[in-house]
Symmetry: D2
Subunit: 107 residues, 4 copies
């Protein structure tokens, strides 16, 4: 279902060094880390406001923007998305263990 | 590679109505949309600061937190992650077409 | 020294109903609370990034932007700046008392 | 009316080197710029959410928190509040001139 993010990650990496006049990603990377971090922050603010406004069409668009700029930021810092996903997997494993332990205590 | 997010989405949905004393997700959902949106904002701020500090271990952890809370927010509003990913696919299609059109013009 | 904020508050209130084509404040108020809150968020993000970049000229400009948009937001919600400052005074009083109490305990 | 901020600025400067166990400002300064910037971001997020929730009591408290942490951040960077207020004065002068010019054109 969601190899979307893997493909998008590859696209972002491949456009990093494209002509800034033709590629939004290249333009953003050319502006540097501060600008990319700023865009991530702006998209997070817009996601919050769309959620609080209960505007789900806007929320879909802003969440997509937020994910996209998170991928650009990870690319800019050289942190692979797979590392972030592995961290989520690791935590879910821990949390499953914690739930099991809690249930064992109860029983 | 990244069915992590699909699995995590299912986990979050299944814990939504768990005992808040046993589940962080249930606790967050019980506090309501404002609190979930606030957490998303805080994680975005921490992601920005980790990136600007060039601390990639912190960035990995904060990006994981940001993704996690985005999934909780989408769940709270009933917006499927698949809808957000479909929006990203749609845009990438458009952007591919735009690049092709731009290249055709040049050629 | 800082009746700047009082004067700016009055200016913002007086421009609220101006011609949006002539006044930035009127334009922002016409767009509604979500847009004003969004601008506040964006200026906070830019303030964070200027601080983390140790760029004090940028920090001065962004802090000014943040204060300005906070005043516009308070005006949009009808919360007087004086009420916010009174809250700060009240807390400082409490904190002074807490410090005194802590010192008394030590002594 | 609002020498509150001047006084608070002086208080923050005087507590910067206090015992972190007795002073919140000293504790925050000891944690460094990243932590102070993070707190500013969190308070901005909470201000946005209070405004969007139309909860004016919360907005008053969060706006006070935001102002307080902005003053701590300026102190941490050595940027005087008076410099930020002078920038706001300068802009208001420019904006007044721009409005005058616009009105002259119309007349």
């Amino acid at each position: 279902m969601d190899d979307t993010l893997s493909r998008l990650t590859a696209t972002i990496a491949s456009r990093r060094l494209s002509d800034p006049e033709q590629s939004y990603v290249a333009r953003l990377q050319a502006k540097g880390l501060s600008k990319i971090a700023q865009k991530l922050g702006e998209e997070a603010v817009e996601t919050i406001i769309a959620a609080m406004s209960e505007d789900d069409t806007a929320l879909t668009g802003e969440a997509a923007d937020l994910l996209f700029h998170l991928l650009v930021l990870l690319d800019a810092r050289g942190v692979p998305l797979t590392t972030v996903l592995a961290e989520l997997d690791r935590r879910e494993g821990l949390s499953g263990l914690a739930e099991k332990a809690a249930r064992a205590q109860e029983g």
